[in-house]
Amino acid sequence: MTQLPGLLDTEAIRKDFPVLDRLVHDDKKLVYLDNAATSQKPRQVLDALSEYYERYNANVHRGVHVLAEEATALYEGARDKVATFINAPSRDEVIFTKNASESLNLVANMLGWADEPYRVDHETEIVITEMEHHSNIVPWQLLSQRTGAKLKWFGLTDDGRLDLSNINEVINEKTKIVSFVLVSNILGTFNPVEAIVRRAQEVGALVLIDASQAAPHMPLDVQALQADFVAFTGHKMCGPTGIGVLWGRQELLEDLPPFLGGGEMIETVSMHSSTYAPAPHKFEAGTPPIAQAVGLGAAIDYLSAIGMEKIAAHEHALTEYAVKRLQEVPDLKIIGPTTAEDRGAAISFTLGDIHPHDVGQVLDEQGIAVRVGHHCARPVCLRYGIPATTRASFYLYSTPGEIDALVEGLEHVRNFFG
């Protein structure tokens, strides 16, 4: 078996993930390389979910009975865990949403309805990048259409990085918000935060970072990032679906208006008007995803016990090995950075003129799960003149053996369509 320096003890870790033992298509061992879409869940998270429902289930912030108190403590305890995980200065800066898309939409809507100095209107500009997931494009297109604000973006270089050569032009005095992805879900690129944040701060623009592909894979320190908002989702980091996070700086959360109205987000309500609860509750209308938050808390405990630095080192070693092995496959072209430097563990590629859908189908037959398509980042495919890509993405339980299986699988694909 291939040994690489920096790898985790995957043999032990994989025992925590029941689904990784599954056989598919009768007798094929599952090789799960679709982690950028969603991660698998360890037993510890599954147990936390069922324990919550079996012992504590109640609505939060409402009742005075035992279960309501305990459920509230568990839900708020999960908020504490998230705050520690991302080094937030205050737990009140952690808003639970249903996913990263909702987190990003929430910021767009806060700014659309905000008063000065935050208000986005027809005299202002919004900046994103060409490598954003659709969830960080469409909310800004909507905001732009509704307010008349101009939507601008950074283009991409041929090797899959942001083209910041015109940064002073793109981010200027009119810019109200700069929203960009920390690690691209399609290219794998790790973006230069500091340069962008520095320029945004110069012109007084807010910064929102989509950390969906970063939070699961590396230490995330919102203070070090110096952003104003950071969004990510739970299900890509061993947590359940239905739970996301928006972190925001406290004074902004105090100033900005709520988006969704309903229970829990209020202070007093009359038939004429209402006042709002302080953040984070101001932004959590209705019964929140309670069990899911508890599950995310368990996922954070799980990841933290292993150590995010170690997980990052493991994935870096795998990525280095994977880019090397993949480039040995004839006709394979990596779309994105071709080295492991400043890149995450999601690798997109094309294989000659074999359509990714066909690549994915033949790999699936061998038990290898990859993602094919435009990965909700169609502008990237347009930029590189390709219809779609095949993407393999790794996580803490991935092994060099699985990369070998992928490479062998791709040989089989080439023979099949050759």
Binding site: H357, D358, Q361
Partner: protein, 155 residues
């Protein structure tokens, strides 16, 4: 191997050597996409009365979607609208069967090469690929012949 039930030789043949590919003069043009995988097709139909004189197309996509467009061209060009609609409906029925229909002789007579897609119907994610050009053809036909007219004939 199960894969062979999807990637029949006939399908791979059509994929590698597509019939009637390229855009030519037509009475109506449509552009259809499969948003989950990025398959795209631009398709034109040409009629003389109720006879299909050409179906021309250009697109990008997987072998299933491209082969399906090629089979469509081969099957429908020269046919009367009513007959073409019968073929389209039969193909739709087969593709929506989730692998439960084993094409019999009668079906094979109607669908000819298109029966090769029976295996694809077992793969829900790929059914849309196979149907892309057929839905585009139906749409283009409705536009070419007038919405209400075509709808009535289909119903």
């Amino acid at each position: 191997m199960k894969l062979d039930s999807m990637y029949q030789e006939v399908i791979l043949d059509h994929y590698k050597h597509p019939h009637g590919r390229g855009l030519r003069d037509g009475d109506a043009e449509v552009h259809h996409v499969n948003p989950t995988c990025g398959d795209e097709i631009t398709l034109r139909v040409k009629y003389e009365g109720s006879q299909i004189t050409d179906v021309s197309y250009e697109g990008q996509g997987c072998s299933i979607s491209q082969a399906s467009a090629s089979v469509l061209n081969e099957l429908l060009v020269g046919k009367q609208l009513a007959e073409a609609q019968k073929i389209q409906e039969t193909f739709l029925e087969l593709m929506q069967s989730k692998g439960r229909i084993e094409p019999d002789d009668a079906m094979e007579e109607i669908l000819e090469d298109a029966v090769a897609f029976a295996g694809v119907s077992k793969y829900p994610a790929r059914v849309k690929c196979a149907l892309l050009s057929w839905m585009a053809w139906k749409d283009a036909t409705a536009q070419a012949l007038g919405e209400a007219d075509a709808e009535r004939k289909t119903a």
